[in-house]
């Protein structure tokens, strides 16, 4: 019992940053913009959140700055792909390379002089320092509720994200822009504006995911703190079929793999550590294949937004 509760708790904790970032990328992709910069954005916002918390001790400020950094980087991508109509894959990859590079450089420069200006190894105020009234001491439920505030917030954020996308006027607009920008435009919807907005919104959510990495799941900064999570997010979006509520399953699955892998390594199994580290990515490959097949069968429920990754101008042929 104890083991299950612990595993579940770790799973949710590990899944939190993935889930925020996945929700963000889902919103961005639903508007037709493919942002492959997630890894770089997560890394930069993780650094930003940690250093702000380290120097000011304000978690709120740390979260705000992380969201701003995520949004700022995503707006570079928006400008390149919407206004300049550049290739979105190239633009997104540049954001990732730029973000990871800059974060690793700044991580060695922003720290205190006593630590050789390095942020790694420092500790700062983290989300677990905020006490949240625990809803239950019942074993399994405790795993759900005995979490930091960012994880708990997801119980509101995910349903809200789903309702917004499928039940509101704005969600309808968003989906139309990503599916068929030409039609949206003919119906009087400002396609470019909508795409800017949701690329930025996506960036903010990715920023939250980044913040949770350094202030929630494993508090503290280390180089390569994201460890490829930004790429798993891209796969999780496909796994979720671009649906916010299904993103939960993906996040839990990958969070769980992470948790189990840690336990196994700690327990010292015969499986080499490299293979355990590979596990999430092997699952990613399998998941992609399965979801692509599903998408082919059930159009509209699992398939990508039709205009994903394409630029748009009304007077184009």
């Amino acid at each position: 019992m104890q083991l299950i509760t612990t595993l579940l708790a770790v799973t949710l904790g590990a899944g939190t940053s993935l889930l925020y970032a996945t929700l963000g990328e889902i919103y961005t992709e639903r508007s037709g913009i493919l942002n492959l910069g997630v890894e770089g954005m997560m890394m930069m916002s993780a650094l930003a959140a940690f250093s702000v918390s380290f120097y000011t001790g304000s978690l709120l400020l740390a979260v705000i700055v992380a969201m701003a950094v995520g949004a700022g980087l995503s707006l570079i991508h928006a400008f390149l792909s919407i206004t300049m109509r550049a290739n979105q894959v190239v633009s997104g990859l540049s954001i990732t390379l730029f973000g990871t590079g800059l974060a690793s450089y700044l991580g060695q420069r922003l720290g205190p002089a006593s630590n050789g200006r390095n942020l790694a190894g420092m500790s700062a105020k983290s989300f677990s320092d905020i006490s949240v009234p625990v809803l239950g001491d019942i074993p399994i439920l405790a795993a759900f509720f005995n979490q930091d505030i960012m994880t708990l917030l997801l119980f509101i954020v995910v349903p809200a994200a789903w309702i917004f996308m499928f039940k509101t006027r704005s969600g309808l607009t968003l989906r139309a822009v990503g599916e068929n920008p030409r039609t949206a435009s003919a119906m009087g919807i400002p396609v470019a504006g909508i795409r800017y907005i949701y690329t930025a919104v996506g960036g903010m959510l990715v920023g939250l995911g980044g913040a949770h990495l350094t202030l929630g799941y494993t508090p503290g900064w280390s180089e390569n703190v994201t460890g490829g999570r930004g790429w798993i997010v891209i796969a999780l979006v496909i796994f979720a079929g671009w649906n916010p509520s299904r993103a939960i399953f993906g996040a839990v699955l990958f969070g769980g793999i992470n948790a189990i892998q840690f336990r196994l390594q700690a327990a010292g199994t015969v499986i080499p550590a490299s293979f355990l580290n590979m596990a999430p990515y092997i699952v990613t490959i399998i998941v992609l294949a399965v979801m692509t097949l599903l998408g082919r069968k059930r159009r509209g429920t699992y398939s990508p937004p039709s205009a994903l990754g394409t630029s748009f101008a009304i007077e184009d042929k």
Binding site: L172, T183, A186, G188, G300, K317
Partner: protein, 518 residues
């Protein structure tokens, strides 16, 4: 589009509702509209007639708020108005049904109808929306289910959704861009009835077309455009189809084509009890047998979706057959691949010319050489010979009168007619005697259609065998020697084009066997 009884002799109510003055719209390298004036009365139907690329759609896109004109002004009910966006246009009660439908495939009918509406609640009351759609669809007998997804609907149904969208938003002026191009004759009649009801309520319509008979049948007034300019505006009852065709093309159009006598030679292509079933076991082709001889055009008639497409794809090797055989000059070629079929002498003009006929982003010359670049003199040891390709392209462009700025222009920038001429040039040039043409004149204007038909006949007169799939009976009767009618994958009968008429073909298209017709 329908003339109502009240206005049969007049032209609407005489109250002007819309006036466009001196509209000019330029695109890079081309003036789509050059100082065009237009006037529309309440209750009136105006036909906008012109060839592809004459500027009809551009002019209407200006009115619908999609394009911003470079010069000119628009007056609505006597007032000077600015139309900067589709919403401005909708607010005035102007709604447009585009040739390519503006519908989001993965959304429901109801979601599509309310999309982009300004005064919608943040949480749209879908229940009420569904109710209102049901009520409107009863009133105009537009059968549509509000909770169906667009990709589940037929083309005709999708057009009904487009009409409902306009009605729902309260449009008074309907703009229809070639509304009948995608419809079956039955659906076209339904559309006509529906629009008739709307006109009776005082709404007006502008419809874009290049078909003369539609102008005569549906409109009060006709405005002819040519190369972006207005050629003439006149009352429909004062003109004949011949006049209209001349105004539109700028020269006399041949409604009858010269041809040699029918003198078929050896059979070249023989289909024997050909059957094709899909995964669910439904027969797409059901026991199809016929033969095509040298010097013959064999027409296939039928309502779209009765197996014609599959027939063309089976013969060209794109689809495997389930049973039966295809013989070419006595040789069994059943189940051969497309490349083997091409080598055996079959050329193909595909129905979807954009998807299967050309590579839009490649140049005219590259598209022309697509079937022969592998061999000398177009290439040697895998290296393309650019000067030979250019010379070949130039000769094809001249021979088939392809109107393109240069041989290096990307094909997607050409008009539909010139894209089709590019395909024709390639396929006829490489043809080994058997040409499969699927809907070759679909969506083309009079001039281009004439060119296509002339080329088919030339192919026949040069002892070629031509299979012509078409949905236009006039075309089949004019061009073919024999006609087979398909219904649900079966051949209802094969008749000589000289001894049949539209009624007989129509009955077979509706599923009657030739023997049953007295």
């Amino acid at each position: 589009m329908a003339k109502t009884r009240e206005t049969e002799n007049g032209s609407g109510t005489g109250r002007e509702i819309l006036r466009m003055v001196g509209i000019t719209k330029r695109f890079p390298g081309i003036t789509a509209n050059d100082q065009i004036d237009l006037s529309l009365d309440a209750g009136e139907v105006l036909a906008l007639l012109g060839e592809n690329g004459a500027g009809k759609s551009s002019l209407m896109n200006v009115l619908a708020g999609l394009y911003r004109p470079d010069e000119g002004s628009i007056f609505f009910r006597g007032e000077h108005v600015q139309i900067h966006s589709p919403q401005d246009s909708m607010r005035l009660g102007i709604g447009m049904i585009h040739q390519e439908f503006m519908l989001v495939d993965t959304m429901t009918v109801a979601e599509n109808i309310i999309l982009g509406m300004k005064d919608l609640d943040f949480f749209p009351p879908m229940q009420e929306v569904h109710e209102k759609i049901r009520e409107l669809s009863r009133r105009y007998s537009l059968k549509v289910e509000p909770d169906k997804f667009i990709h589940e609907l037929s083309v005709g149904e999708q057009q009904r959704v487009e009409i409902l969208k306009l009605v729902y938003q309260g449009a008074d002026i309907l703009i229809l861009d070639e509304p009948t191009a995608v419809l079956t004759p039955q659906e076209a009649r339904d559309l006509n009835t529906i629009l008739g009801m709307m006109l009776a309520e005082g709404k007006s319509a502008i419809f874009i077309t290049h078909k003369m008979d539609e102008v005569i049948e549906f409109s009060h007034k006709v405005q002819v455009l040519r190369r972006g300019k207005t050629v003439s505006v006149c009352r429909t009852r004062d003109v004949t189809p011949k006049d209209l065709a001349r105004m539109m093309v700028g020269r006399e159009v041949l409604f009858h084509l010269e041809r040699d006598d029918y003198n078929p030679g050896e059979p070249r292509l023989v289909l024997d009890h050909l059957t094709l079933t899909n995964r669910t076991g439904r027969a797409l082709l059901d026991d199809v047998s016929f033969q095509i001889c040298e010097g013959e055009i064999f027409g296939i008639a039928g309502v779209a979706g009765n197996g014609q497409q599959e027939l063309a794809e089976v013969i060209t090797g794109l689809m495997p057959v389930t049973s039966g055989s295809i013989r070419l000059d006595g040789r069994d070629v059943t189940g051969n691949s497309p490349i083997q079929m091409i080598k055996s002498g079959i050329s193909h003009i595909p129905a979807d010319r954009g998807a299967m006929g050309v590579v839009g982003d490649m140049s005219v010359s590259d598209n022309l050489v697509m079937k022969k670049y592998r061999r000398k003199p177009m290439s040697r040891n895998g290296i393309l010979n650019r000067s030979n390709i250019a010379r070949f392209a130039r000769s094809m462009i001249d021979l088939f009168r392809i109107s393109t700025p240069t041989a290096e222009t990307r094909v997607k920038f050409l008009s539909g007619g010139n894209i089709q001429k590019t395909i024709l040039a390639r396929e006829i040039d490489s043809c080994g005697g058997i040409l499969v043409a699927a809907y070759p004149s679909r969506g083309l204007d009079v001039g281009a259609t004439e060119a296509v038909r002339k080329n088919l006949l030339r192919q026949r007169d040069n002892q070629g065998a031509v299979l012509l799939v078409s949905e236009e009976l006039e075309e089949l009767l004019m061009v073919s020697d024999r006609i087979a009618v398909m219904f649900e994958g079966k051949i209802m009968g094969i008749v000589s084009a000289q001894d049949t008429d539209i009624e007989e073909l129509g009955m077979m298209m509706a599923g009657m066997k030739k023997e049953q017709i007295v």
